[in-house]
Amino acid sequence: MLNEGYHFEVKVAEMAVLNSTGEKEERAEFVLTPTVEKNTLVHEGRSTVYSTPSKTLSSEAEGVTQKHHVKGLGSALGVIQNQILALQDEARRIASIMRLAAANNERETLGIEGTNLNEVLTTLWGYRKEQSDEWGMILTFLQFSLSESVYEKFSEEQCSSIAKVLQKHLRLLPDEEDVIAARKILEQSGLDTLKPLTGLLDSD
């Protein structure tokens, strides 16, 4: 699935790794490249290159604490995209904690962080008009996987599947493979991505 956008994304990622201590001034040049719709791939690249440890309920949990700044962009669109990126990072951080909590049988932590994750996803859903249909589909699968669920009972596999979907597939510009893979990953762990559709064939 490599395309121009992905090449672009890789370049940004490499630069971010090399200059991980300060503001990334040079990124603004990429951000303004007109061939990149909504500048999303730039942010996408940025969102995936950071994986710094954060102090959380479980000290082993990996989170993403890097703040996203788009210098030189200054548009409302850029602000919104940064907000989405920050929320996605927060969701990934929480899912990572949940995974560790499930592995360590920390049921209370799971309950708290499951609620937190649900809230973050609900906030993200508020940005659906700014995002693609595919992004909305993946977020919908995640939200329904978490809806009406007892987070305290989530297994490590289920938490891992949520973390994986957040990390790999809830990108700013997901494609068809992301959507199908996201549903498959969540379903394979026993989560229900289509809760509103269940019971469809009872009348047949």
């Binding site: 249909d133 909305g136 589909m137 068809e176 289509l194 509103p196 559709l197 269940t198 064939l201 047949d204």
Partner: protein, 276 residues
Amino acid sequence: MPSGTALFLDTTILIARLVHRKDIRSSIVDRLSGYDYVCTGLVAIKEFNGALLKDAYYLLKLCQSCNTVNDVMRRLEGLVPRQLRKFMRCFQMLGTATEEDDRSQLDHLRCLTLYLLKYGLKEIEESCDVLRQSSCAMGKTKVVAKPGKVDEFDFGPAKCSKTGNECGIVQFLLDNLEQLQTIQEYLKKLDSGKTDELKRAEEFVEEFLSDSGGIRSKEPCTTVGDLLIAIESQSIRDFYTINLAESQHFCKILKQKLILRPTSSSRQEEVYDFSR
């Protein structure tokens, strides 16, 4: 995993695998994982498009034109009783208790219906092969988004008679005259339990065997789908379905093993082995 085993999925299983309750979906996935080869047929795909995806499209349109979930429900209620089945399906789709506001809930529903329309068939095709012997033109036609239009989809022709030279059903039936004769003999002898679909199949086979010309005007894929799917599946011993009414007869005629997936969670799958 057993070796050399094959399973045919009928339309009800294709649909259930995608959108039934989680426990049913899981049990279907478990069943499929025990086979070396899993397949379906073009006529089953045609029914999948015409049933689930058409319903999803209808619901997508309702999401567009209604402002509240209650508005959608009122529109759905207008379908009763003529399209009770469709109403039930759509009602079930909406049957979720959330605290979301109306717009948010409708947007979630829009995402789910869009998923089915854009990727539902792809998901099916990733999990099974599609036998193409019937050469059903409607089964070969993909549901596609209309370019440049939001939430508009093209389903292709809805009748066999509108498919031009693409339809291969007549030739498919001519290639299976022996099976059709066996089916005709069986259905003639069947005294009780003959459903409307079986009666239509009996009439259709009789008509076809006496004169195959012009049979496409009878719209076989929309009127005798179960018969065609049965013939599509004949080379596969194990036939997987939710529908016992017609399948039990066709499996008996074609000496297949019928695996029935009840829609009740509390019931186990039932196996009727007619292959011996």
